[in-house]
Subunit: 339 residues, 2 copies
Amino acid sequence: MSESTIKNSTISLSRAPSVAGFASVVGRKEGEGPLRARFDEIVPDAHAGQKSWEQAESAMLRRALDLACSRSALPGGVPECLLAGDLQNQCAASAYALRDVPAPLWGLYGACSTMSESLCLGALLVGAGYFASAACATGSHFCSAERQFRYPLEYGSVRAPTAQWTVTGAGCVVLAAEGPGPYITRVTPGRVVDAGVKDLANMGAAMAPAAYDTLSSHFASTGRGPDYYDVILTGDLGRLGQEILRDLFAADGVDLGANYMDCGVLIYDLKAQDVHCGGSGCGCSASVLCGHFLRGMRDGLWRRVLFAATGALMSPTVSQQGESIPSVCHAAAIESERC
Amino acid sequence: MSESTIKNSTISLSRAPSVAGFASVVGRKEGEGPLRARFDEIVPDAHAGQKSWEQAESAMLRRALDLACSRSALPGGVPECLLAGDLQNQCAASAYALRDVPAPLWGLYGACSTMSESLCLGALLVGAGYFASAACATGSHFCSAERQFRYPLEYGSVRAPTAQWTVTGAGCVVLAAEGPGPYITRVTPGRVVDAGVKDLANMGAAMAPAAYDTLSSHFASTGRGPDYYDVILTGDLGRLGQEILRDLFAADGVDLGANYMDCGVLIYDLKAQDVHCGGSGCGCSASVLCGHFLRGMRDGLWRRVLFAATGALMSPTVSQQGESIPSVCHAAAIESERC
């Protein structure tokens, strides 16, 4: 199989599904950041009323789902299917969050790209008429992620300057076959890209090449340039990864422009909140999309948003065996009008 | 959300995709079992030429993909998308296996139901015309699973009588929009079912209620009874879980009959191979479907197979916190003729 055989291609949805409802729930630190006024709920502490961090992660994801469903005028209050995943081993946070929801679950794993993976797949399934509605949800939790991927929090390990801070938060988007919009109009699924980066404390560098691959494929296959969109939004490349992505496009003579932003940079005050390169985790792009950008689209601030969350697909075990970090990026065009 | 609001429903594919190619690769123990003559390749040892068990798992999954693609007459030799997942933390086995395949990856997590989840989703995506072809692949490895989910192998832990043996193996099915069949004609996605079982050494008991939920929904929504199918095939309920599923249907007055089988029971000689209740793992249903049943359909042995792999969605962390085991089952009807 040669690199050039297939380029990612973009699917245009002739019956573009509408965003019917959305919601975001975040932790205390996220609730103290620049977007504090944009989230639906801010939980007061890391346990969110539960006994463990893992259960707190589930509870927040479930709360985002319930809120989004309650705003979506769904028959019976329940979406016809669920698309969800998370960072916990065996995607346990989403499975436990959804175990008493009487709708089928398509379990996904795209690491921090899961919000856009779920949105892309949900749009394809609803757009084809298989389901009248779909809930796309994901989340993450700083404490459960740290102990699983890095060190027990009690060690108080020093963080590298390139490190990011896993967001405690969740987001959910409910899609419906018909509605007032915004609509998921285009879907560009991503392939696995491995640029050879091995530094687990530099996820931005590992994931930027995947964002470049999918976004450049999106532009090439749609004939749209970066200036078509009011916002081009990556998930959690962070400050450094964002710069690398700009550089990769600049080498092609493409300026991503002022409309390019990254959820991981937006969610915290990078200096004042001591988060080094910014936020990360499935819950980063999920809460920023559902808190800040879908609200903004509803309020008429933006009409065309290209949402491209990225995920790093390594595991601690395989990284300890010396492997580099493969990544993926899925992109969904969210537009006020069907086109 | 009440239990009765939505029942799983079955999607009938008006343009049912065809199985274009399939392949199976298994480990030595599986190659010594009753189905030894049915698999495409049997690797000689647990490392399969790699340096670690995790890498071996990736290599076997990739080999199954390459074999299946080579038999599928795909333009350029590459499917238009990939649907894959596995049991390794962060689904690393499939991500690393597929990192140089130039096609988009929909990363899935359905635990041991991943083969049927990928087949169901792949059929929906190809059936809608979004992709002309899709490769559905998964696998598992006894050694990587044991050390991740249970104990280091070096401990030599005694296994419970209800325990199952994680299959070292992989399978891949390539679907295409057109072809001579067999076809994926019906898809019944499953919801998360938690019957309260907490015994990690009794996965069959935890997963049987999910199989019951999805299969009974399939029968109710299609008007088909168990006797419609030449084979009803669960993934890895094992000997005990198989009995529980029969009992659950018997309580409804439904006899699953002699055509009901379980991949976990078929793949080993349960007594001679010291595997207690049978095989498990994503690779169990994947290799048995691709090795035994799709071959048999091609050779005219069976015309209608209902494939319903089950998955247990717990994680070791959450189980240690006292949680019960939620499960899921997705069902795909595979038939020689479109209907």
